[in-house]
Symmetry: C2
Subunit: 270 residues, 2 copies
């Protein structure tokens, strides 16, 4: 029987809410997990964030996000590492062992050089994360974000990097919106066995209204979400399933309505 | 020394022009090649198109486009094959041996089933194309078009299909806009050795204004066009290089100006 035991509200889906509102919304809706964004923590401070989440009895599925490793200068790259260390600390404080990595765009045209900077950045971050009991989840983004958000744009590439580490250190996050198009998807999900640190759902709308803000609620698009879920589960993932939707129409809808629709669609399509 | 001997004006770049205007524009600009779209042929008829191109002494680099194989019913899929046969005939009549295939989106959610329909469609088309001296060039599109234009979205996948045939029958078309993000790009270009039937250039703008209409003129974006060109040449391609840009700003610019800028940017960035 399907239940919402594994449903996690990635709070970007109700970006109109601050963290307190999102937590209260989850409690009202009976959603047991939340995925938290760092800018929302910053608004009210880490201690207050921690208190709110703990008092509500919510479990934290992940912190979004670390990453953004490539930069033009060594100094700037070091700053990014320091920032990632703060993200690791926040994850540990908030009681999740997953920091999602959006690896960052290239500072110049040389995308291969930027990809090396990502590898070096992860290498520098791993020991610190491990000390804090936090795993790094490399989330390959959709290739349409290669120039502006992440040079890591395929699950194959994310796997390749993750495999340089133990599964307790580095894994991958599978977001259907980012990977559904990949003809090698099911092979790569198999390859990621034991290393999947998160499963994110939303849908791909047709026609696609916008590069960034065009994600849809599950069931409104063309992604075989349930099929991908089964593959991810066969590769050993049984953790929370985050609903992560960037969409102004959804952000303009009252949050409680969004969460109700999310639960319904989760049961129907995920 | 760089020259424009291999420059081809894919006429979508001056979509404001009909075929006659595009041909006259190429002659004025001294551009020796043209890539022709089928809707532009239809406007004035095949015989007239043929006469205009021949009288101008232009060479035709390719016909855009065949493909669009997947459909919900067997009847509709057969119609698509018939349409592709007409495209093959037009290519032969216009004196090019390359029909570019944009393979088409899925009629439903099952993207793997649609990919099989593409394979079946190509299989059905190959003998007819070969009789007409026309090669089928599978153009992998950017993954952001997977739901609306083509389920073939990686050069690896295009290669995999092409390799089921002799290089005289089926090859691949490398368009930088569609493939620049791919971490496996240079391997796949190597793998395509002897099978590359076209090289298309434009640029990826940052920020990216639109999924379909957001392409830029070479040099205005982040793609390592020259590097990819060298790789394509090392894989044996020495044919025409098409400039193919979907962009309303460019379509609103006088065509002669567009071609002058195209020549300049070609010499500088391609």
């Amino acid at each position: 029987m399907q239940s919402i035991d594994r449903l996690s509200h990635n709070q970007i889906t109700t970006n109109q809410w601050n963290l307190r509102e999102a937590v209260e919304g989850c409690v009202r809706a009976g959603i047991p997990w939340i995925g938290i964004w760092r800018d929302k923590i910053e608004e009210i401070g880490l201690n207050e964030s921690k208190r709110i989440v703990r008092d509500a009895g919510l479990k934290v599925s992940s912190i979004c996000r670390g990453g953004m490793f490539p930069a033009a200068t060594k100094e700037e790259r070091q700053k990014r590492i320091d920032e990632n260390k703060r993200a690791v600390e926040e994850a540990a404080e908030l009681g999740t062992d997953v920091l999602v990595l959006v690896c960052g765009p290239s500072p110049g045209k040389d995308i291969e050089a930027a990809r090396k900077m990502v590898e070096v950045g992860i290498e520098q971050l791993v020991p610190f994360a491990e000390e804090h009991g936090v795993k790094l989840g490399i989330e390959p983004l959709h290739p349409m974000y290669a120039a502006e958000r992440s040079v890591i744009v395929s699950l194959a590439h994310a796997n390749e990097i993750a495999e340089q580490y133990r599964p307790e250190q580095v894994g991958v996050v599978v977001d259907v919106f980012h990977v559904w198009w990949d003809p090698d998807l099911y092979n790569q999900i198999k390859r990621a066995k034991g290393r999947i640190l998160g499963y994110h759902v939303s849908d791909w709308l047709v026609p696609t209204p916008d590069l960034l803000m065009g994600r849809g609620m599950m069931g409104d698009g063309v992604i075989e979400i349930h099929r991908i879920r089964k593959a991810v589960e066969e590769s050993g993932y049984d953790g929370p399933i985050e609903v992560e939707i960037f969409n102004h129409d959804i952000w303009n809808t009252p949050g409680d309505k969004v969460l109700e629709r999310m639960k319904k669609r989760y049961l129907e399509y995920v």
